[in-house]
């Protein structure tokens, strides 16, 4: 047996730089300090993404992306296919946990200022991944073709249409026409299973490659050469595996005890039901649009709201180039306060969406 393993290793080693790879992994170190636990969230995001890919491929075996049969096919998956309810529930719960984990990962790197040189591109690719996964969530939400997802898509694509100049053509491109219809569903299916995975594959690849090149960032004030490190393999890897195991327990428990509901089939000619709201990770934007008055000075409320979020997304992307103090290993409280404000805003507005009366 040992002989077979050795000869296989030798065969592959002559064709792939296996020895160099093993050397790299065995020498790779993870900094140890009081904030080290934040490092686990990147790995958790990766684990949940892999879960999404596997469960997504399984759902593809039965799902039919047309307005006439999408809802019925999801119903068939959850009602007739063995373990269909579990696979679908894990896919939905994992999507939500993934967005949550990405937000935590993003804010932890923000507050630890991990975007300092030379990790600007790691930050930018990370932000792009956040936006791409929000797009994943948005496009996937419509696929069961139920009442809630139908109106969420109607509002979401209408919001895009509010943007100056590019808004209208972009809305038509997303909807596949003037209105949300079966054409939108087919398009969103294409985005969800082909376009977005393709882009994510490239961006995630760059993000992970940059992580290997630069290693993990250390908090402000510490020197990378002086900080104590533990080997990535096996020390950090085993701890990460424990984190993955914990997430699996949470994910499976949620999926089993709170199966994701399917709701009522979408009817493009029915009123929006009371209490309608998008997925939780869009609710802070949803409530902002709801609370903004019709006109703020001379701009329409919704246009202002959309523009503010658009500018915030660009600001987030450009943080490494705006926070000039962090380059000199100095902390500028303005950026810390902006981060605290953003976290509190998202948390408070999300909670308010669920407790404010909708009438």
């Amino acid at each position: 047996m040992k002989k077979i393993i050795n000869s296989t290793y030798k065969w592959f080693g002559e064709r792939i730089p296996l020895k160099e790879l093993i050397d790299f992994i065995s020498k790779k170190g993870v900094p140890i300090h009081s904030y080290s636990y934040w490092y686990f969230f990147g790995g958790i995001c990766l684990f949940l993404y892999i879960t999404q890919v596997v469960t997504g491929i399984l759902l593809l075996l039965y799902y039919k992306p047309t307005a006439e049969s999408a809802y019925e096919s999801v119903h068939f998956i959850v009602a007739n296919v063995p373990f269909g309810w579990l696979i679908r529930s894990i896919h939905s719960w994992s999507a939500n946990l993934l967005i949550g984990a990405i937000f935590i990962h993003m804010f932890s790197t923000y507050f630890l200022k991990a975007y300092r040189p030379p990790r600007e591109l790691t930050w930018i690719t990370g932000c792009l991944l956040l936006y791409l996964f929000l797009a994943f969530g948005f496009s996937g939400y419509l696929l069961p073709w139920n009442e809630l997802s139908f109106f969420a898509t109607k509002v979401g694509t209408e919001i895009v249409g509010v943007l100056p100049i590019i808004g209208k053509p972009l809305k038509i491109f997303l909807r596949g026409g003037e209105e949300v219809s079966g054409a939108t569903l087919t398009r969103f299916f294409g985005f969800h299973v082909a376009v977005l995975p393709g882009i994510v594959f490239i961006i995630l690849g760059i993000h992970l490659l940059l992580l290997q090149i630069h290693g993990m960032s250390v908090p402000l004030g510490m020197k990378e050469e002086e900080v104590k490190k533990e080997p990535f393999f096996p020390n950090f890897f085993i701890k990460e595996l424990i984190g993955w195991l914990l997430i699996t327990v949470i994910l499976v428990s949620l999926s089993v005890f709170f199966p994701w509901p399917l709701g009522k089939k979408a009817d493009p000619f029915a009123s929006a039901p009371a209490g309608i709201k998008p997925e939780w990770y869009f609710t802070f934007m949803f409530l902002t649009l709801k609370l903004l008055p019709q006109k703020v000075i001379f701009i329409e409320g919704e246009v202002l709201g959309v523009l503010i979020f658009f500018i915030a997304a660009i600001f987030l992307l450009l943080i490494p180039f705006l926070d000039l103090w962090s380059k000199k290993e100095k902390r500028n409280p303005i950026f810390t306060w902006i981060g605290i404000f953003a976290v509190l805003y998202i948390i408070i507005m999300t909670i308010l969406t669920y407790i404010l009366p909708g009438k």
């Binding site: 009123s271 309608i276 709801k290």
Partner: protein, 150 residues
């Protein structure tokens, strides 16, 4: 003199070549992206403009209630007021395009998505909608209700 001429010719040929290669490259890029860009935007399908639709019978809609109906490719809403008269509007909320509903408890139109309220003339009472609902005309012929636009 001859040498200078040669240099000029070489320069001219080099620039021409740059221009041809650059132009061809632009042509290739354009010929790839133009069809793609045209393809991703759906063609406009000819749609016969609909000016009138039969909504149902008078008895189908009780007093103080509303009904969403199909007007061409878009939804409309007809409301039978407490006094028995009918009003009809476009059911697409002017805020972000949700479909509105009649709230018998409030006696006016409401959009569930962002809490927009409209009175029975279609005007905004409160909430984020920036403009009134488009008003339709209601005709009662015998027992049948017809809604017309324009």
């Amino acid at each position: 003199m001859k040498k200078g001429e040669k240099m000029e010719r070489r320069e001219f040929l080099k620039k021409s070549l740059d221009f041809i290669i650059g132009g061809s490259l632009l042509g290739v890029i354009f010929s790839i992206f133009y069809p793609i860009m045209k393809f991703i935007f759906p063609p406009k399908l000819p749609e016969a403009p609909q000016f009138q639709v039969k909504v149902g019978n008078v008895d189908d809609i009780p007093l103080n209630s509303g009904k969403v109906f199909r007007f061409g490719t878009r939804p409309g809403i007809i409301i039978r007021k407490s006094d028995g008269t009918f009003v009809a509007f476009s059911a697409t909320c002017t805020h972000l395009g949700c479909i509105v509903q009649y709230r018998p408890d409030l006696g006016h139109i409401w959009c569930a998505c962002h809490n927009g309220h409209f009175d029975l003339s279609g005007n905004v009472l409160s909430g984020p909608p920036p403009s009134p609902l488009e008003k339709f005309n209601v005709k009662i012929i015998g027992n049948e209700i017809y809604v017309t636009r324009g």
